[in-house]
C-alpha cells in the first residue's frame, strides 16, 4: 500500500482533477467486449459498419473502466478511499472509437461526514470522460466513502 496523501477532509466542493489522456485500440475494444459485452458493434469491425454507429465502438462499461483506471492512476490509490456505495446516474453521450484520447475530469459536488461513523465521510463527485475534441462522452454522478484523517477533520 502506498502512503495516503488525501483524506475525506481534502475533497472540498469544487476540488477538481483532470487526468492525462489514454486511448483504447481496436484490439482492446473487441477483447473486452468478447468477455463482457459481445454485441456486434463492440466485437466485429466489419459488422459494426452496418450498425447505426457506423463502426466499432467501445462498450460503455469499458469506458467506465478506463475512467476508473485514470482515477486510480491519477490520485485514488493515494487516498483513504474505502469504496463506493453507488452512482446516482451514468450517461453515455457519445460513442468511444478506437484511438479516441480519453481524459477523466473529477469534480467534488458535496462532502458530508458519516452519521454513523465519526472516522469516515462521504464525497459526492461528478466524473466526466472527455475525448480529444473536448466532448463529454460519459458522465457519472456518484459517491465514495473515505476515512477521515482524524475524527475532528
Amino acid at each position: 500500500m502506498t502512503a495516503i496523501k488525501l483524506y475525506w477532509v481534502d475533497f472540498v466542493p469544487g476540488w477538481e482533477y483532470l487526468s492525462p489522456p489514454r486511448s483504447l485500440n481496436a484490439q482492446e475494444i473487441t477483447s473486452f467486449a468478447r468477455e463482457y459485452d459481445p454485441q456486434a458493434y463492440h466485437t466485429d469491425e466489419e459488422a459494426a459498419k452496418a450498425t447505426p454507429f457506423g463502426g466499432l465502438i467501445a462498450s460503455g462499461w469499458q469506458t467506465c473502466g478506463v475512467a476508473m483506471r485514470l482515477m486510480c492512476d491519477g490520485y485514488l490509490l493515494e487516498t483513504s478511499c474505502i469504496g463506493s456505495p453507488g452512482l446516482d446516474e451514468l450517461r453515455w453521450f457519445k460513442p468511444v472509437r478506437p484511438g479516441d484520447a480519453l481524459r477523466l475530469r473529477s469534480t467534488v459536488l458535496e462532502q458530508a461526514p458519516s452519521q454513523k461513523d465519526a472516522a469516515r465521510g462521504t464525497v459526492k463527485f461528478r466524473w466526466d470522460v472527455l475525448n480529444q475534441k473536448d466532448e463529454v462522452v460519459c458522465r457519472m454522478v456518484g459517491r465514495q466513502h473515505y476515512r477521515r484523517r482524524s475524527p475532528a477533520q
Binding site: M1, S59, C64, M68, R69, G83, S84, G86, E89
Partner: protein, 160 residues
Amino acid sequence: MSGQAKPHKKYYFEDFVPGDVWEAEGPLVTKEEIIDFASRFDPQYFHVDEAAAKGSTYGGLIASGWHTVSLCMRMMCDRYLLEVESLGSPGVDHVRWLQPVRPGDRLRMKMTVLEAKISRTKPDRGSILHRWEVYNQRGELVMTMDGYGIVGRRPHAAPP
C-alpha cells in the same frame, strides 16, 4: 446498407412489456478473474492484493463494482440482448453496490421491465427501462441498477 435486408432478430421493442421478468444465471466468480479485471481497470488494494485486502474494511478480496456490472452485462447479453434489435443505451440510474462480491460467489440476475415508451422523434424505436437485481448464492441482494435500452420496433416483415 441500402437494398440489403437486415436479418431478423428474435426480440423487438414489442417483446418488452412493463412487469415482464427475465432471469439469468452467471458463472462462478474466481479470485484470478477478480484480480485480472481489477489489475486492468480498478487496482485498489482490496481488489488486487489478497493479503492486504484481509486488513481492509472488507476483510478479504472483493470484486470491483465495475467487474460486477460487466459480469451482469454478459449475463444479459447471453440471456437475450444478442437476440434483441438493440440500438444501444443512453445510460443507467441508481447503481447500488450493496454487498461485496467475493471469490467463489455465483451471481444471479433478475431483470424487470419498468417502462416501455415509443420514441416521439424516431417512431421506429422505443426506450425500455429495466431494473437489474443481482443476487449471490445465499440470496443476498448484491447490486441493483435501473438501465435504459433503445430497442427497434418489429418491422412488418418480421415474424412475431
